[in-house]
Symmetry: C2
Subunit: 491 residues, 2 copies
């Protein structure tokens, strides 16, 4: 029914998803009839040379979407009710194939050490300061206005505060404006809707944040991946792509890029700005990690260097405060920000005002600064534990980046290790991470993987990397011993 | 430079916007040179036979977008800096013309009686109950999880609560799922992104909520307006359109439709469901006013009537609680909701969790029900004041709807009155409303206008309608006396 040849281990599409797609197509086309039994996960995994967890993830997804029904002790059966009644909507046909490239859910286990999410640590949330801040907002005269319908541009006191902070930092050039967004993800969405049409080309870092890649791909945009080195996006490659492909937009993350953690030096920022201007490309600077500098001096943002005010800057409270409160903002030229306000209005009217008011008070009161100091200090320790863990525990030949801030380290395992294939083994040993395929634009590195360290204590970080080191080293050993088997004559 | 002939009073594009478009085009094309002086607002208004506020609104927009610079005592000048430097981005060319059809901002005046926004009254917000609710959330064990990154589907305790309430109401058919959205506006956006492509056809009520119209138009969708009568969307017209135009989607508001306030009787709901199913159209039921029933029995929702579970139902806390907290939800078939979750993830990751947790507690504690009783009682009084005001003060020949709930009454002024042309006069007398053009799909009624009454006390409502009655009656009188002037011979 399915052979190894139907699956492509090199594809950026995860294997479980390929398997899901294969079965779904067979069910929808009628090749797999209603009520027919699928092989057991163990059996199919053996047949395809896959991990059982991969097969189980595919089955789970099929079941979640109603293509399969599981019967304890009997197996999984194609669901007859999927076939729509004559006058019912065929939802799967109507929706078309999923574009989603998000990781399969991993069953939650408190023992799991997860490097999979780039987010702050719950343990460091300053709960008392947060409660105090909320009480101040609740007792403030502004409360009725906070609870009432607001403006697409954002809660006006927060907008004014952010604009005055921006002016202090030389970010508020003539004609500059600001819109509050529901986090940075929405900022990217608004910019894409304002500026991009299907078929447009956008230069992005490669590897890049999956939320950016998925958004732009779903908008029908062609992504041009620019490699990221120790100094961030490679400006020589960028120039080549600008000349050859003429992208409309460049998205760059000068500080502690996700996933590599790389930071662009001043000269590279200037070069990027110059190149964008020379080639008439719009420059978007994503800077949600910029305030998490653990060592070295902060470098001016590209928008600070851009005296024309044309660079679009994205910032957010998510990484320095509370990601559950969705508040970010975009600073850019007035026409662009006006258009984003119009789109914001049809998208979700405006950003939640309770969170805007609470974060404004958190910032104004100085509590945000105090909290930032605490997480910068904790982040430095966690980064250091991550780097020392990588040095000590990962197999020889492993390379990894040396960020000076942010939340992520990018690891490249030595050949022939494949971080995607090894993930199920790591998960069985209660360690989770995101393999490179989620970040790949055009240069897939099978050994690439992201370690997001900010949510874990130094001790858990070292324990997790030690476990990963064990998995990777044993696999490397057996791969090498397999590699030494004499090649058989072809017959 | 501009003549009356350049403007179209019949167009759904407001006059101030037409004026803006005209000047902007002239500036961009170079017809109006940098530094040239525009006529004073009073002068141009006289020349064009427009209200001065219309001209001022156009100038203000031009100034906001950087096309004009105003100099006190000297006038308004075309801005030389608009002409981009050779290597700067030409934002206006890049962004293309604005699609926005939102009302011009009216300068805020505490004396203004505004019927322009369909929102609850700030004065009725139960601030103590809200503070108590927040304190409970802040002191709860879940606080760190609330502040942490969440899930695209919504804050799980809120999702479970909404699903169990839905099950009690017979809304949770087999295969039904729920996603929490940032208000109903985002629900429409996610559904449009999941199901619609440019050129697709959608049947909507005519007149319709402007946020729906603007969203669908910006998605490149063709809108088919179905007239709304006293019994809501006209199902006979709907059938004709289904047969002739084969729309992919039907959006219907069975309870207290915005702007007409109309409610569909049970038979019309059943007919709509049957028609949608017969013609293979997806049915979206918007129900954000449903809980604001002031008289009569609640009628089952279409989703309750739909045993296949195919109807997509939209609800929200905005109208019954606090619109500044952006929390709504979509219930629908699992494949559609799954796809909406995928899109939600690339759109804004997830809805703000502080507001989700607070609204959950507000609902669970019974405080939402208590508040709803209070606003239903106040709403009934306000509706009654609106209807009696319309009867007493509006000129003979005026027709208006008789809703039994919700926040809006739809008024049709007698010919030849144009609610759009009369708005500046009403605004000068400190009364604001939205004229019909914002709601029109294809049947423009010049006399149509929406009175959103929920935010005003009965006394203010009567005062406002009395003022409107004065404006409209005097205009009607002078229009009729103009109409009686003898026609001159053509020479």
């Amino acid at each position: 029914m399915i052979s190894k040849l139907d699956l492509d281990a090199e594809s950026p599409v995860p294997l479980y998803r390929q398997l899901y797609d294969h079965f779904r197509a067979s069910i929808e086309s009628g090749k797999l009839e209603n009520g027919s039994r699928l092989p057991a996960t163990r059996e199919l995994a053996g047949h395809l040379g896959l991990n059982r967890t991969t097969v189980a993830a595919a089955y789970e997804l099929l079941e979640n979407e109603g293509f399969l029904t599981g019967q304890v002790g009997r197996g999984s059966f194609v669901r007859s009710s999927r076939a729509p009644q004559s006058n019912e909507i065929d939802w799967n046909a109507l929706l078309g194939p999923s574009q989603s490239r998000t990781p399969a859910p991993v069953s939650w286990n408190p023992a799991t050490i997860s490097f999979a999410t780039s987010r702050p640590s719950e343990d460091l949330f300053p709960l008392e300061a947060f409660r105090l801040t909320c009480r101040e907002v609740l007792n403030g005269k502004q409360l009725p206005a906070v609870l009432q319908l607001g403006s697409p541009g954002g809660y006006e006191p927060l907008r004014r505060y952010l604009l005055s902070r921006a002016a202090e930092q030389g970010l508020c050039q003539a004609g500059g404006e600001l819109i509050v967004t529901s986090g940075c993800q929405q900022a990217f969405d608004l910019i894409a809707r304002a500026l991009l049409r299907p078929g447009d080309k956008v230069a992005v870092e490669d590897p890049v944040y999956p939320g950016l890649k998925n958004l732009f791909l779903s908008a029908g945009v062609e992504l041009l991946g620019i490699p990221v080195g120790a100094d961030g996006m490679d400006t020589e490659q960028l120039e080549r792509v600008l000349v050859k492909n003429r992208p409309k937009l460049i998205v760059v993350t000068p500080n502690f890029q996700n996933p590599t953690g790389a930071t662009m030096p001043l000269a590279a920022r200037r070069a990027t700005l110059r190149l964008a201007r020379e080639h008439g490309a719009v420059l978007v600077e994503s800077d949600i990690y910029g305030e998490l500098t653990y060592s070295g001096e902060a470098i001016p943002s590209i928008r600070q260097l851009d005296e024309t005010g044309g660079t679009i800057l994205l910032r957010s409270f998510s990484k320095v405060a509370f990601p559950g409160l969705r508040v970010g903002w975009v600073m850019g030229p007035r026409p662009l920000v006006s258009r984003c306000c119009e789109i914001k209005q049809i998208t979700d009217l405006h950003t939640d005002q309770l969170s805007q008011a609470v974060l404004l008070r958190f910032a104004e009161s100085g509590r945000l600064d105090a909290h930032r100091k605490a997480i910068v200090s904790a982040g430095a320790e966690r980064l250091s534990a991550t780097l020392s863990g990588c040095r000590e525990f990962l197999p020889p030949g492993t390379r990894f980046t040396r960020p000076t801030g942010g939340m992520n380290v990018w690891v490249r395992l030595p050949e022939p290790l494949d971080a995607g294939d090894l993930l199920p083994r790591a998960q069985r040993e209660n360690v989770n991470y995101l393999p490179g395929r989620y970040f790949t634009v055009s240069r897939h590195e099978p050994g690439g993987m992201r370690l997001s360290f900010a949510g874990l204590t130094p001790a858990r970080i070292r324990e997790g990397i030690r476990t990963l080191g064990g998995v990777f080293s044993s696999e490397l050993e057996s791969a090498r011993s397999r590699g030494m088997e004499p090649a058989l004559a072809m017959v």
